[in-house]
Subunit: 315 residues, 2 copies
Amino acid sequence: MQLVTIDDIRAAAQRIRSHVLRTPLVPAPWGDPERPLWVKPESLQAIGAFKVRGAFNALTAVRERSGSITDVVAYSSGNHAQAVAYAAATFGLRAHIVMPEETPEVKVAATRAHGARVVLCGAGQREAVAADVAADTGGVMIPPFDHPDIIAGQGTIGLEIVDDLPEVATVLVPVSGGGLASGIGVAIKALCPRAVVLGVEPELAADAAEGLRTGERVDWSVSLRNRTVADGLRSQPSELTFAHLRQVLDGMLTVTEDDILSAVREFAQRGHLVAEPSGAVALAAYRQHTTPPGPTVVILSGGNIEPRLLAQALA
Amino acid sequence: MQLVTIDDIRAAAQRIRSHVLRTPLVPAPWGDPERPLWVKPESLQAIGAFKVRGAFNALTAVRERSGSITDVVAYSSGNHAQAVAYAAATFGLRAHIVMPEETPEVKVAATRAHGARVVLCGAGQREAVAADVAADTGGVMIPPFDHPDIIAGQGTIGLEIVDDLPEVATVLVPVSGGGLASGIGVAIKALCPRAVVLGVEPELAADAAEGLRTGERVDWSVSLRNRTVADGLRSQPSELTFAHLRQVLDGMLTVTEDDILSAVREFAQRGHLVAEPSGAVALAAYRQHTTPPGPTVVILSGGNIEPRLLAQALA
């Protein structure tokens, strides 16, 4: 299986540069002195999450390869949906987005606000429904993680980390479908081979941790994975992303539901950043595990949290 | 009276560059299409507010002029206190910080966490108490706004805005003692003379708006100014900052207490940024007033809000 390369990621960085925020690496002096902390706040992207990077890279690459297209289709628990809707609107394309019924209302509304058509479906049905929609509309499918263009787009975060902090020792990355961790891992291992890259999952959706421990992808049922409050971390790696994770991750850490909500609170109170639960797991792992000493980066992957849940985490 | 110049601000930018975050200008597609919106999130600075810019510039300039110093003194309703404490700790100096008793606990604790000695005092007493502390300790006073080094430090925000968005049409800036608006105004008017710079105050502490309307500085009593929830906007301009504001501001806007809390909510929900009430007035003004068309920047000046108040704004 061919893995994404640092050159693919560099090409992605060129493609997306005028569409995506070059996020700062924010020093967090409230971290542990042995493990000085930096935050990469992808929550500041236009749609509130890193997913715009992969979406713009994939859409631009499809247009380069296929010439003119009119419709795009995506399935997503939320942030990828908004990212594809936003990127499609930027290029004047029609977007059809398939979302599971349990998606937080804030994410459904945000997707519609970008002019996309939203098709709701039952849990576990979204890939099949999206394939039907693509057949009906002739739209190009933009998958949430299982594609080299998506992985390369998310990997641009790794390039920026190394530019800003060449002495980085540890990077903590949320893992769901694994596109983000695959891309960042490829970039970090190519440019800073001594740095440690650790994936983070909720205990309640720790399929990738189990799979990497045993060396084989494992399937957890949708109902098991849907137990976590981190609604963006309920997917599991594909063959493609699992192959990347085996190659580039130094390990996996897991965190509890309480750890996640504490990290949401810490981001708000100390970092002045709004994180959704999925976006807070890397900080949760930093707090709950003895990660290696040295400069440490946590990826704050997204900020689309229901106001009520944020208020509850602050109480 | 000699005003701060663009060269002073450029010199400040050189002095503070290794100590202060170069904040991004974050596009906010949730703004009004006629007035495309960008946010300058100074809440991401190490102490959660822009005040580090002035504090590092003033401390560095004092050390350049006076050689070795050992103690610094400041009085502040909060964010300047933390900024001086943080900058002093960076340089290994002792900091003595005078704060009014009504300062939110989160700001007192944060100031002590930087190793500073905190001296609490009654409302309206802080300048006198700080002068006593300076006399007792031989410390150098770092005023919160009434000094050219402070104004020049805050003005570095204006340089960064013009670098990132040369076509800026309007800049909305909170006004309290006026150091921030003075510095940003000098930079914007020097580099983008056609851009409109508007100051923003709470209605309940609108002394600068009244003063600029009548052409004379006015005094509002401390008890009047202390009515606003925006605890960082309860100071009033000095002769020095008032002279700058008359020169560089195109006008003043005022906002209600409800407008301010709505803007705190909007920053959290749409921008994924935690703003304190004082930090949210520029967005409140953008929403409540018909500001000029064209690219618009709101300064999010700080994020140090009590979690309970943030939770209340989200409800």
